[in-house]
Amino acid sequence: MKPLTGFELLRPSTLSGALELLATLELAWPIAGGTDLIPQFKDDGCESKHLVDLSLIRELNGIKMEDNFIVIGPMTTQTQVISSRLIEENAPALHEAVKLMGSPQIRNRATIGGNLCNASPAADTAPPLLVHDAEVKLTSLEDSRWIPLTDFFAEECTALEPNELMTSIRFPIVHGASSSFQRIGRRRGFTLSVLNLAVYIERDGKNLSEVKIAVGAVAPTPIMLEKVERELKGMRMDTNLLEHARKMVSEAVNPRDSARSSGEYKREMAGVLTERALSAAWTRVGGKLP
């Protein structure tokens, strides 16, 4: 463990203030809840000379409904996400994921934007937001752009330019839709995901009129399984479909062996988690399984 050293902490109270600091100061990095960054600084040292603390910027915090979207400020803590009825009702997968993350102490600090911007392939908020078709807003002093979350993740980095901040996250509210999050960890509480997966469905009678599947920790970034989604869309939901989905997902992912698990285990379990998630989401929209 290294002592923390070599940086100043700046605490702007406005977004424009933060963007200004990031654009003008040498080696300026944003810091959100700090639950990933501070341990990382203690392990590896801190390259940044100026940490720009975003926690005082009100406009980056909170959950609201706007037109037909749920809009989440990136500095919203995991605890805030857990206590949000809007999230629980409209994005159950996200609600479930956040409940499983960290510990109360961590969830009181860690933010949803921090989890995404940290660019971990195992980030638990990524699969739920991906299947809910989320977009993120990236803002610099000059410009703002919305991009689909699918375009945000890259290997060990994100689409963020050095002078940009993630300033909003949104996804559409779809009536009659549901979702579920499932994960494998080395224990039940307070652990990183060895594998995580979210499923989103829309139900039309006995059929799946829409299916989205996102998996984390099987590739350098969280991924969506479009080919499997296309295969399952429109199909009748029953135990045969679950078996079919399980096999297809196991074949669609190609995880490497890692310190936390073998690739073979993840491949098998991705199929199993798909079955669990589809069943849970189906039950949630009033569907029955014969």
Binding site: L4, L9, R11, G34, I38, L51, P104, Q105, I106, F190
Partner: protein, 153 residues
């Protein structure tokens, strides 16, 4: 920087490279806050920040400016903490004691907001507090026991 520590305003020089944990222990002599993993994993350094449990090893000192920090010292006379403390003693939930201040704070935050938690809710409340002596059973029983006493059916 000024912040509220256990009900009193304190003014300190807060360096950005000093964690709240080191500020409390090193400069303010609050030694109930224990230094364990320094990575936010063990919960020995838990404090309440505006009432919410957080690991003080992951907070930079200037970040508590104007906020309320509570450690177990600030809750010595709190009736709920007294029940918890006595339950811990009765049930043998303390061995080396290193995790105990953090456990008490997590238990207090739970019972303050949820008078009759389920065993599952107790486990969730202390999932961020590691105890290497007791195996948790006595700690969980103590928190449930204290809940029973403060809010009997």
């Amino acid at each position: 920087m000024i912040f509220e520590l256990n009900g009193k305003n304190v003014g300190v020089e807060a360096k950005p490279t000093v964690t709240l944990l080191d500020l409390l222990r090193g400069e303010l002599g609050v030694t109930s806050v224990k230094k364990g993993c320094e990575q936010g994993e063990c919960g020995a350094c838990t404090v309440l920040l505006d009432g919410d449990p957080v690991t003080s090893c992951l907070i930079l000192a200037p970040q508590v400016e104007g906020r309320r920090v509570l450690t177990i010292e600030g809750l010595v006379d709190n009736p709920l903490v007294r029940e918890l403390r006595e339950a811990f003693l009765r049930n043998g939930a303390v061995q080396c004691g290193y995790c105990t201040p953090g456990m008490l704070l997590s238990g207090y935050a739970l019972l303050r907001d949820n008078k009759r938690p389920s065993e599952e809710e107790v486990k969730t409340a202390i999932e961020g507090n590691i105890c290497r002596c007791t195996g948790y059973v006595a700690i969980i029983e103590s928190i449930l026991d204290a809940a029973e006493r403060i809010a009997p059916d």
